[in-house]
């Protein structure tokens, strides 16, 4: 079903493969290896061969040659054509990996010194652990609380920098159940090498058992609703009638007209910006400086919860609901579940350890 180039993992010295994309990328990798090997061998033969064939011998003077334009052109153009193949192939694969399928299950990952905090739409939270079902497209939305991190899962051949200040994303479809490593691969400070974790790819049944627990504090949207009230948002953003601020119902992914004449789509990035820096874009017909800045007041996790709540106000446009599998089966503790329950207990995260710079 996911038959592709995953057999490449069986080659000697090959790295394990656990997604379709990994097989595709590895086919290109081996092509590059083959080309490099051929070139290296040719050049080594040339260097060593010429050096010995034309080693200094008494009575054999060197023959002075000026050069050869046709030869120069040949050995410039042919390698370049081969490189164009690499360029085309690599770009094609990269491009495909950029756009997650519409119905991908969405999971949120917040990086901070030095941990990965994972939030599922059903409210489940984990630290340095990620559980995904086999054979399903999964989109990770990545955010950073502090410095630049990079989220990478080698067996899927995916990696993306997690840059503070905006959302990044990556997606994959795991093809092989197992327990695989997650690394932070952008240097982020003292404990960078401890910013690692595990992704568990579970079979369908196993996954639904794991997912059946749900979040202890309600779904992500419910958590967001709580924040919405606590932070006083609900006093101005009224649910069904026009308050001092725009109505948020049926807003998600819809066009919004701004007071400078532009129209933008109310996607995650727009909502995030409008929560943290409300004055950056003002909706047509509304005043600036009404809503306070929440930059530094809300964590990235809170923002994700709020956005989930806003999404939930726009029914039928929430692809992330795929994450909540319909079968809320009996509470059978699955092997992976215990561990996650333990992490859930500690999901109240320790305070960020950002020491102020000395000097």
């Amino acid at each position: 079903m996911w038959a592709s180039y995953t057999f490449l993992a069986d080659l000697p010295f090959a790295a394990p493969i656990a997604s379709k994309e990994a097989g595709d990328i590895d086919l290109l990798w081996w092509f590059l290896c083959a080309v490099s090997l051929v070139m290296t061998v040719l050049i080594f033969i040339g260097v060593i061969g010429f050096a010995f064939r034309y080693r200094a011998k008494p009575g054999v003077p060197p023959v002075q040659l000026h050069g050869h334009t046709a030869l120069e052109v040949t050995w410039s153009v042919i390698p370049f054509l081969v490189m164009l193949v690499m360029f085309w192939w690599g770009t094609d694969l990269f491009f495909a990996a950029q756009s997650p399928p519409k119905d991908a299950m969405e999971i949120f990952v917040v990086g901070k010194q030095w941990m990965w905090k994972v939030q599922y739409p059903d409210g489940t939270r984990e630290i340095n652990a990620l559980h995904v079902p086999v054979g399903q497209d999964v989109k990770l939305t990545l955010a950073s609380e502090d410095v630049i991190h990079s989220f990478g899962i080698p067996v899927f051949r995916v990696r993306h920098d997690v840059v503070p200040g905006h959302y990044d994303s990556l997606w994959f479809r795991a093809t092989k159940p197992g327990h695989y490593r997650i690394y932070c691969t952008e240097y982020c400070g003292d404990r960078h090498s401890q910013m690692v974790g595990w992704v568990d790819v579970l079979g369908e049944n196993e996954y639904s058992r794991w997912a059946s627990g749900g979040g202890s504090g309600g779904t992500l949207a419910e958590q967001g609703q709580q924040l919405f009230t606590q932070n006083g948002c609900s006093t101005c953003h009224l649910l069904n009638e026009q308050g001092r601020c725009p109505i948020l119902k049926n807003l998600y992914n819809k066009p919004v007209e701004l007071n400078d004449g532009r129209t933008v789509i109310a996607d995650d990035a727009y909502l995030r910006e409008s929560i943290l820096q409300p004055n950056a874009k003002i909706v047509n017909g509304f005043e600036a400086n009404v809503m306070p800045n929440f930059q530094g007041q809300l964590s990235e996790e809170n923002v994700i919860q709020l956005i989930a709540y806003i999404k939930s106000l726009s029914p039928a446009t929430t692809p992330s609901q795929v994450g909540v599998l319909p079968t809320k089966g009996p509470q059978v503790p699955a092997p992976g579940k215990k561990q996650s329950a333990a992490t859930k207990a500690t999901a109240v995260t320790p305070a960020p350890q950002q020491a102020a710079p000395q000097q």
Partner: protein, 546 residues
């Protein structure tokens, strides 16, 4: 193989007046404006910095023999940062231009000195001033941002000596700019009569191209570092999104210099290899014009590929496509050079003295370094390899396997001219082979580690990577010891070696026609050049290859 050097064993005989013995005392060195003395000052300085940087490398490899490490992670982070900062800014960038370039560029074009001798001395003082900051940082407790100083970590979060390190690099940058400026003016204005552009030795072409990058690129990294300092001290929002900045902006500014800087760190090495191969194959370099033009091509293209460091930062896919394409483009001139060096030996008369052994090593290692670069210009394969040991291995093949080996090749080639003495050829060949073996054992396993996913800049790693890491450390030990050997026999030769004579290799070029060591003004009378630098044969046969 049996080369006889026209050396005189009675080394103690009276030395003719030369740039080394014309004056004595520390003032004669610290206030000299002789390009050769300044080059020697640089040789000592960069060797000292190399040893500091190398010590950090050895400490890193020691730490990585155990998956959980030996030192605290904070300490390890300082090791790799100090290693990177010192090696890049205080060894690789000045290495060949400031030493061999300073010494031989004027001689090769028949000039008495560089165009601005006092600016040349200023450049050394700037270097020393920057190096003092770097050494202060080492002594005070180090910096832990990585040599790339990525914001907002460097501006807001790091607790280490970021400012002092930035000042050191900033100042040393001006040393690089002044050297580049001096070279460009010298090549334009100081060529001897008859030394036309198409007669310039390829080493001069390479240093000229390097000079262009130095003066155009280095100010930009200086700007990046100033902005880091401004944000760090005054909390102005430039890079940190919490105060309204953009972290990606830093990467654009930083790599706009630091990618071209990669070519500052390889072009002069390519120039050395062109000279050495021509000499020991007794041949005019095959496709001279193409080698010269490819140096210029690399210098220009190097400015438009910086975005390939940022494929996975979230920069626009279309931007990524353009940078990927241009990165393949820049590979062409490098390939042209490798093919031409190889073709130069065709129908030559090849001998295997130590400079040539290093040159062979250079071609092999640079080829691998260049080809593995293609894996990183290809966007899809860059994704899994980015930030792993594959990248570390790739750039060490270019920087160490390329530039350091070329530097050693050049030092062995010109040491008899610089000091007037010949070193032990047996030791030199032994060291060359050991360096080649140690280097490969150090860095080949790192390609595998990176492909398997081991991230770089990790103070601890999963136990399944231990075998490859121990192999790498074993290689590094061999490499480290092998690099000390030339230091010993070259120093020894300077004092006790047999006299080398003016032209021990039977090489062509103006530098081999003058006394060893040269006099202060190189030439008694300005030479008139009537032929190109590589007149190794009686006549050039108008014969076609293939």
């Amino acid at each position: 193989m049996a080369t006889t050097y026209p050396t005189t064993p009675e080394a103690a005989a009276e030395e003719p007046v030369n740039y080394l013995n014309v004056e004595h005392g520390w003032k004669s060195w610290l206030f000299t404006t002789d390009h050769k003395r300044i080059a020697m000052l640089y040789v000592f300085s960069i060797t000292a910095m190399f040893m500091i940087g190398g010590t950090f490398a050895m400490l890193m490899r020691l730490h990585l023999t155990r998956p959980e490490g030996i030192f605290a992670p904070e300490t390890y982070n300082r090791f790799f940062t100090m290693h990177g900062v010192i090696m890049v800014f205080f060894f690789l960038v000045p290495s060949i231009p400031a030493t061999l370039g300073n010494f031989f560029l004027p001689i090769m074009i028949g000039a008495k000195d560089l165009a601005f001798p006092r600016v040349n001395l200023l450049s050394w003082y700037l270097y020393i001033f920057g190096a003092i900051f770097a050494i202060y940082v080492v002594a005070a407790g180090g910096v832990d941002t990585g040599w790339t100083f990525y914001a907002p970590y460097s501006t807001t979060y790091s607790n280490s000596y970021v400012l002092s390190a930035a000042v050191g690099v900033f100042v040393a940058g001006f040393s690089s700019i002044t050297t580049g400026l001096n070279f460009i003016v010298t090549v334009h204005k100081m060529r001897a009569p008859g030394m036309t552009w198409m007669r310039l030795p390829l080493f001069v072409w390479a240093n000229y191209a390097t000079g262009l990058i130095q003066i155009l690129g280095t100010p930009v990294v200086a700007i990046a570092l100033v902005l880091v300092a401004v944000e760090r001290v005054m909390h102005v929002g430039i890079f940190d999104p919490n105060v309204g900045g953009d972290p990606i902006l830093f990467q654009h500014i930083f790599w706009f210099y630091s990618h071209p800087a990669v070519y500052i760190m390889i072009l002069p090495g390519m120039g050395v290899i062109s000279e050495v191969i021509a000499c020991f194959a007794r041949k005019r370099p095959f496709g001279y014009e193409f080698i010269a033009a490819s140096s210029m091509g690399i210098a220009i293209l190097s400015f438009v590929v910086w975005g390939h460091h940022m494929f996975i930062t979230g920069q626009s896919v279309y931007t990524g496509i353009v940078f990927s394409f241009l990165s393949f483009f820049v590979a062409v001139p490098s390939a042209i050079k490798v093919f031409n060096w190889t073709a130069t030996m065709y129908r030559g008369s090849v001998t295997f003295e130590s400079p040539m052994l290093y040159a062979f090593g250079f071609i092999g290692l640079f080829t691998i370094g260049g080809l593995t670069g293609l894996f990183l210009s290809t966007m899809a394969t860059d994704v899994p390899l980015h930030g792993t040991y594959f990248v570390v291995a790739h750039f060490h093949f270019v920087m160490v396997g390329g530039m350091l080996v070329a530097f050693l090749s050049g030092i062995h080639f010109w040491w008899p001219k610089m000091t007037g003495r010949m070193y032990s050829e047996a030791w030199a060949r032994f060291a060359a082979l050991m360096i080649f073996a140690g280097f490969n054992l150090t860095f080949l396993p790192q390609f595998v580690l990176g492909y398997l996913g081991m991230p770089r800049r990790y103070a601890a790693y999963p136990p399944e990577f231990q075998v490859l890491n121990v192999l790498s450390t074993a290689g590094a030990s061999i490499l480290g010891i092998s690099l000390v050997i030339p230091l010993i026999y070259l120093t020894y030769a300077w004092k006790y070696g047999p006299k080398a004579g003016n032209n021990p290799w039977g090489a062509k070029g103006l530098e081999w026609e003058i006394q060893s060591p040269p006099t202060t003004f190189n030439f008694d009378d300005t030479p008139t050049v009537t032929e190109e630098a590589y007149n190794y044969g009686e006549e050039v046969e108008e014969q076609r290859v293939a």
